[in-house]
């Protein structure tokens, strides 16, 4: 079982992440890349295509992308462009995204421009969705229209219909993934968690590159084993929460845990925020159901940062977290701006906090380790003071 866990946790590594997609392509057909966790993958899945969570190139050097984009722009976007231009993503039939920020919009336009001649594999399936920043009854109808536009687009591209029933089934399959992964998150609440933070990130990202049915079966088999497991950690305290976006490399979380702490909870778009809310299958229209779920997410993209901070503070309490690491990706501005407000809220709530800027690909490990270590030592000091204090 440990090997099975390892296989899932390592699914997102460059040497394995395309394996299932290539098999799918050979046996079943189209694979569509998904650029953010805001895209309702269920619609793609319902169309009979494989939604594939796109990682950028994990290499430090981005020679092709650097021709088009300056280094001081969203690092995930640069590494995605590199993966597109260096051929890593040649097997994709297209990409679906939302305009997460202006960097995503310009990435999108560039892909479209470059994808015209000589790259017929891109283009046909490419689609960018409009997602409102506000969840309200005024914006919802337009978002629902946007979801239907995705449906129409995929139907045209794949020349097949997406029925209500197939979407209902996809909604259930994705709910199963979220429910299973939430059980894994429950196991993080233990004094010694069943699973490390790095392993959890590996599991969630595995769900984005594997066919869902297969992932759900594998995780279902694995859960009883995890129930009895104790994570191989250097130290089980302090308990840290890592907050970030576009963080898909478990080695970053490993680096944090190696400083002598446990990442007992995360606030990641490819972690907790990816799985937190299920689709309400009681809603009769499956299109409305899926649309409501994706408009009701917490994200730096969404306008309601108060709700975001409330959720974060709630997790800190629920998972008995000692400190929060805001692990910002360089040049990703929604989080950069939002953090100033979130810090204010964390301070008011008396929650220790630090921020560290990181690249998308793993780099600067020495410098990052030093900064995280200093924070972890501070937390350890606070914990030991609490233990020895007569009060």
């Amino acid at each position: 079982m440990e090997n099975k866990l390892k296989e899932l946790v390592q699914a997102v590594l460059p040497e394995s992440r395309n394996k299932w997609a290539l098999e799918w392509k050979k046996e079943k057909g189209n694979v569509v890349g998904v650029l953010t966790s805001h895209v309702p993958e269920e619609v793609i899945y319902a169309s009979g295509m494989l939604p594939f969570g796109v990682s950028g190139s994990w290499e430090a050097s981005t020679p092709f992308a650097s021709i088009h984009r300056p280094s001081m722009s969203c690092r995930y976007c640069i590494h995605v462009l590199e993966a597109i231009l260096n051929g890593e993503l040649d097997f994709l039939n297209g990409l679906v995204s939302i305009p997460y920020d202006d960097d995503f919009k310009t990435l999108w336009y560039l892909i479209d421009y470059l994808g015209k001649p000589g790259r017929p594999y891109m283009g046909t399936f490419n689609h960018i969705m409009y997602l409102p920043h506000v969840n309200s009854e005024t914006t919802f109808p337009m978002w629902l229209t946007s979801v239907h536009e995705l449906k129409d687009h995929l139907q045209r591209a794949a020349d097949r219909q997406i029925s209500d029933d197939s979407l209902r089934k996809a909604n259930e399959t994705y709910n199963t993934t979220r429910t299973l992964l939430k059980k894994v998150y429950e196991l993080r609440k233990r004094e010694i968690p069943a699973i490390t933070g790095a392993e959890v990130l590996g599991l969630v990202t595995a769900s984005r590159v594997m066919p869902r049915d297969l992932f759900n079966r594998s995780l279902t088999e694995l859960l009883p084993y995890l129930e009895d497991r104790k994570a191989p950690l250097k130290k089980a305290h302090p308990r840290v929460l890592v907050s970030s976006d576009f963080l898909d490399n478990p080695a970053y979380i490993d680096m944090i845990e190696n400083t002598g702490c446990v990442v007992a909870m995360d606030d990641l778009d490819l972690g907790s925020r990816y799985i937190w809310n299920n689709i309400d299958t009681a809603i009769k229209d499956p299109w409305e159901a899926v649309a409501r779920r994706y408009l009701d997410v917490t994200s730096p993209f969404m306008v309601n940062w108060k709700k975001y901070a409330d959720q974060l503070i709630g997790w800190v309490r629920e998972y008995r977290i000692d400190g929060v690491i805001d692990f910002r990706q360089l040049y990703s501005y929604p989080r950069e701006y939002m953090s100033t407000y979130v810090v204010q809220r964390l301070k008011e709530a008396g929650i220790p906090y630090t921020f560290v800027r990181r690249d998308y690909h793993l780099s600067g490990v020495g410098m990052l380790t030093t900064r995280v270590e200093a924070f972890v030592e501070m937390l350890q000091g606070t914990l030991s003071n609490k233990r020895t204090s007569p009060h």
Binding site: I67, R69, M72, P99, D101, D102, T106, L107, T138, M142
Partner: protein
């Protein structure tokens, strides 16, 4: 924060504008536009209104999109324009605060400088904020941060960006209109002193449209060789009539400025020293602490236009004029004020931005593009190479890509900056010559 926070800033700006008016009256500079006097008088009016409003407790609201905010009884809250003036030591102070607080230090300068300016009380607090995805992202992120931190009543406006190509549909216009109606109700309920006046909106639309008529006339004059508009004037961010308590005076300024341009154009007087050797497009911004336009003018290089936001589309008449039929029907004033929002290329996907550069170069007969990659300007700084490729392919003109910041001087290497400009001028002159030869040969 005191209710009079920001008063010293406004008083400082008022005094600066008053000094400028006095200087122009006492020592008029024949090389500069005479209408500048009116421009600075408008600045005096503008700051005076803000000071009186702050003292009397009138509500302040964000400046985009202005006619609505004025019609709601809000006084323009122009923190972003004020941040533009914070270069030099002032900027250094704000960047120190940004870095110390762990704020977004690599983003667009003007938008992040605005944040500590407001949060520290150097600039007045807004009473109501209207943010939206019709602006670039750093602006609405900064607005959202200020609103969350100061607990300011805020409405976030959505547009469906798919209309960027200029094909806004009825459904998309209705989407925006519905939200504005909701926004008005929200502001009237949550902001003391807010009351929507539809007649005021109509009046402001009239004056904005009159202003736009002169913008369109000026656009034609900019195409004249030699160009009668100075690069510095082309770089100036427009102040629309709705910014002012007296919008007619603003239109009067535009009229007089346009007449001066007409006169210069009819006499063949250009804006550069000596013969106009070259005409460049500058895009989208520049270091505010330097003066590349003056430097270029001394070398006979005109900059008839700066490509920033969607202003040039407006000047070219991309949007239909007030009162014209839209999709075969007459729009209500409410719809008139909003129809351009969905169609605005700013904050869109890129097609509109790239095409606008090409169209400007074509219409104004430009010989090259200086593309200033400003740190953190996500909406423009990934298009440098693309615009360069398209401009070369479609117009045969070169592009210089420069990298730098708007307000933070710490990364500015003056010598290198001007060395690159110097080389580029030579490249453009050479390319212009070759285009001339090709034209002659083709003609033969």
């Amino acid at each position: 924060m005191s209710s009079l926070a920001g008063l010293p800033y406004l008083e400082f700006e008022l005094a600066a504008a008053q000094r400028r008016v006095k200087k122009i009256k006492e020592h008029p500079d024949p090389l500069k536009a005479a209408s500048n006097l009116l421009y600075y008088e408008l600045e005096v009016d503008y700051r005076s209104e803000q000071i009186e409003s702050l003292k009397s407790g009138k509500p302040f609201g964000t400046i985009y999109p202005g006619p609505f905010m004025r019609a709601l009884g809000l006084v323009p809250w122009d923190a972003i324009r004020s941040a533009d003036k914070s270069y030099g030591d002032k900027a250094k102070r704000y960047f120190d605060m940004i870095r110390a607080e762990g704020m977004a230090e690599h983003t667009c300068d003007r938008t992040i400088v605005m944040v500590p300016m407001v949060l520290s009380g150097d600039f007045p607090k807004p009473s109501f904020m209207l943010a939206g995805n019709y602006t670039c992202q750093p602006i609405h992120l900064a607005y959202r941060l200020i609103a969350h931190t100061l607990n300011t009543p805020t409405y976030f406006m959505e547009r469906k960006f798919s209309a960027w190509s200029g094909s806004e549909s009825e459904q998309e216009l209705k989407y925006v209109v519905d939200q504005y109606q909701e926004m008005i109700e929200f502001a009237e309920k949550n902001v003391p002193g807010c009351k929507f006046n539809p007649d005021k909106l109509e009046e402001l639309l009239y004056w904005d449209n009159e202003y736009n008529k002169y913008e369109r006339l000026q656009w034609k004059l900019r195409a004249t060789v030699p160009c009668p508009m100075a690069g510095r004037d082309a770089f100036r961010e427009p102040m629309y009539p709705h910014f002012y308590a007296n919008p007619a005076k603003c239109v009067d300024y535009m009229r007089r400025f346009t007449e001066e341009m007409e006169e210069k154009a009819s006499k063949g007087i250009g804006s550069v020293q000596g013969e106009e050797r070259l005409r460049l497009l500058w895009s989208p911004t520049a270091p505010y602490f330097a003066d590349p336009f003056g430097w270029l003018a001394k070398r006979g290089v005109a900059v008839p236009a700066v490509e920033m936001g969607t202003m040039n589309r407006r000047r070219r008449g991309h949007y239909s004029a007030y009162g014209e039929l839209w999709h075969g029907r007459k729009l209500s004033p409410f719809e008139e004020a909003l129809r351009g929002l969905g169609d605005s290329a700013w904050g869109g996907l890129g097609h509109g931005t790239v095409q606008s550069h090409i169209e400007t170069c074509r219409q104004l007969k430009l010989d090259g593009i200086v593309y200033f990659l400003q740190w953190g300007c996500e909406i423009t700084n990934n298009f440098g190479t693309l615009i360069s490729e398209v401009a070369e392919k479609e117009l045969g003109i070169p592009t210089l890509i420069l990298q730098g910041r708007q307000l933070d001087e710490s990364t500015f290497e003056e010598q290198e900056f001007y060395r690159q400009l110097e080389e580029f001028v030579d490249i453009c002159l050479d390319a212009k010559k070759k285009r001339g030869f090709r034209k002659q040969e083709h003609g033969k």
